[in-house]
């Protein structure tokens, strides 16, 4: 399938009587950055492990880059994963281990050394290249684990909780690194931090009880193009004036948060057009403290 990086169909993974994956189907388009959102034990990690070929599935099918399920002889260098809770060999050195992984992917010694150095620089660990992994802090180890995913720019990268344990500065560095890869690589991120998913991803999949319950673009899920929230100083006194400004829209006022939610159809225009029509009417009645489009991902997830 052209334009599709990963297709999983009806994946089932049983651990005894429990089903970690229970008919999990998900399609990840090429070049997208997809966020997996779900409760603890929903099956996000299991799905990633299954795609990486680490798990023996009870049933279901996986197609990775149009070449069937993961096989190292086919997918080595084209696919990478940051597995959760998997430690790198403690006695290894970051520079050496990245070089060795690059060599295993088939890179020449020069290219392997170059990419290892580049990746260490990208995660701000160039000065620790020759220290043992054992001597690195938790956050530093996480950055080395992150770095190994991008050796040789694989087409598909799965990241399980990539920002776990990182300080704000390093987390921001990783976010910027990932944003720079949007559209160039297919990246799937599993995270409990919905804000991270919201700021990084173009697509989102909700996973519950081993199944994908909903998947779409972030914009569609958060209804970013059909809903605007205005935080106001006071409740607008003349709702009719607002309705007159945007005839097709509906308005809902929440007194606790002082939020006025405007929901509209695509025919009414985009968010900018709605703002142009509505803001004058609102400002005539009260002060506008903040404007935001759509739901937050958290609101969308909790409301789903």
């Amino acid at each position: 399938m052209i334009g599709v990086a990963i297709v999983t169909r009806d994946l089932v993974k049983r651990y005894g009587r429990r089903r970690a994956l229970d008919g999990c189907s998900l399609v990840v388009p090429r070049g997208t950055m997809m966020g997996l959102v779900g409760a603890n034990g929903a099956g996000k990690t299991t799905w990633m492990m299954a795609v990486a070929g680490f798990l023996r599935l009870s049933s279901g099918s996986i197609d990775l880059l149009g070449r069937g399920p993961f096989r190292a002889e086919v997918h080595s260098g084209r696919f990478a994963i940051l597995p959760q809770d998997s430690a790198l060999p403690l006695e290894a050195r970051p520079g050496d281990i990245l070089y060795r992984y690059a060599r295993m992917q088939g890179l020449s010694p020069e290219a392997a050394r170059r990419t290892a150095n580049e990746m260490l620089a990208a995660v701000n660990l160039a000065d620790r290249a020759n220290n043992s992994i054992r001597s690195l802090s938790h956050g530093m180890r996480m950055r080395v684990r992150f770095a190994q995913c991008f050796i040789g720019s694989p087409e598909v990268v799965l990241l399980d909780e990539p920002l776990n344990g990182l300080d704000p500065i390093e987390a921001d560095r990783i976010r910027r690194f990932l944003r720079a890869r949007r559209g160039r690589q297919t990246i799937v991120i599993s995270s409990h931090n919905l804000h991270d998913i919201e700021t990084l991803c173009t697509h989102v999949a909700f996973v519950e009880k081993g199944r994908v319950t909903r998947t779409s673009t972030l914009e569609a899920i958060t209804r970013a193009s059909s809903r605007v929230t205005y935080t106001l100083a006071a409740e607008p006194s003349d709702m009719a004036a607002l309705s007159a400004a945007v005839p097709g829209a509906t308005f809902a006022w929440t007194a606790e948060t002082h939020d006025l939610v405007c929901t509209f159809e695509a025919a009414d225009g985009d968010v900018a057009a709605i703002n142009r029509k509505l803001l004058p009417a609102l400002l005539a009645q009260t002060d506008v403290l903040a404007v935001s489009s759509g739901l937050s991902l958290e609101q969308a997830y909790l409301g789903s």
């Binding site: 680490f54 993961f70 190292a72 597995p83 006695e91």
Partner: protein, 300 residues
């Protein structure tokens, strides 16, 4: 070719990782020390025994340890004693007249090769499975390549340990024995080290095979020690079984433990050395593949 290349990469990573791991370094250092002390101790004992023998036989006293032993090789009762101990005339013919120091090192190397293999390699795979480190490799190489790479890495490591121990034993011999041709002895010590390395091929396969079936490093090490004990007792078990069940053909199952091929490695001629080596390599790879079979069918 790509597969061989990837196996090589895993082997190099394994070897480098093992050398950097403190546990393996300690075991290698201990092994070297054991080889050195074994040589020192046996040379001392040998020297004392020879002095006593010289006195009893009223021979002229000599400071050259090994001279009386060389004479002993010529005595018929001594020959028959060694023959009955070996239970293999061919091996006896091949080692007859060899310098005792050389044979002491050979005995040590063969005796300790299983333990060295088990202690160095026993937990390497299990530890990687437990920590999840294996996953970083498995998106780059196949499970089979990973297993074979681990094996090759450990073979390189044990070969290094045996070479260093042979050198250490030789240095001790040079310092303690003034009368021997030291440069003639060095290649023979390495030769015995090489033969012990061939013997270790099977034990390494067994150690890594066992290590594939559990995720606990300490459990893997314990299982390895159990495997050594089982292999040591295997001929006895077979004898008992064949007697009880009256099945003589059961004796042929002796060939499934490494010790069955050990004596071939004490032969001088190429043919038995080659067949013995091939037997041990086959055994090692069989143990390894049995472990791999379990690993390939389970979650990583």
């Amino acid at each position: 070719m790509k597969s061989l290349f990837r196996i090589g990469q895993v082997a190099v990573a394994e070897c480098a990782g093992a050398v950097r791991s403190r546990r393996v370094l300690v075991i290698l250092a201990l092994y070297l020390l054991m080889a050195v002390f074994c040589m020192m101790w046996t040379i001392t004992i040998l020297g004392k025994m020879e002095a006593e023998l010289s006195k009893v036989l009223q021979l002229p006293e000599t400071e050259e340890t090994g001279i009386v032993s060389a004479t002993l090789w010529k005595s018929a009762p001594f020959q028959s004693m060694v023959k009955s101990g070996l239970k293999n005339d061919l091996v006896y013919n091949d080692i007859e007249g060899r310098h005792p120091v050389e044979l002491i090192y050979a005995w040590f190397a063969f005796m300790c090769a299983p333990l060295l293999a088990m202690l160095v390699a026993g937990n390497r795979v299990a530890d990687d499975l437990k920590s999840g480190a294996v996953r970083y490799a498995l998106v780059r190489v196949t499970r089979l390549e990973w297993t074979l790479g681990k094996y090759c890495g450990q073979v390189m490591l044990v070969a290094f340990a045996l070479a260093v121990s042979a050198l250490g034993a030789w240095v001790v011999a040079v310092f303690r024995l003034s009368g021997i041709g030291m440069f003639e002895l060095l290649p023979t010590m390495f030769d015995w080290g090489f033969r012990a390395g061939m013997y270790a091929l099977a034990w390494l396969g067994l150690a890594l095979g066992v290590s594939h079936v559990t995720r606990s490093g300490s459990r893997a090490s314990a299982l390895c020690l159990l495997a050594i004990a089982l292999c040591a007792g295997w001929p006895g078990i077979l004898k008992l079984l064949s007697r009880w069940l009256d099945c003589q053909w059961l004796d042929h199952f002796d060939a499934i433990v490494p010790s069955s091929a050990a004596l071939s490695l004490w032969r001088r001629s190429f043919a038995p050395l080659f067949t013995g080596g091939a037997h041990l390599l086959t055994l090692g790879l069989t143990y390894l593949m049995l472990g791999h079979l379990v690993f390939s069918r389970r979650d990583a």
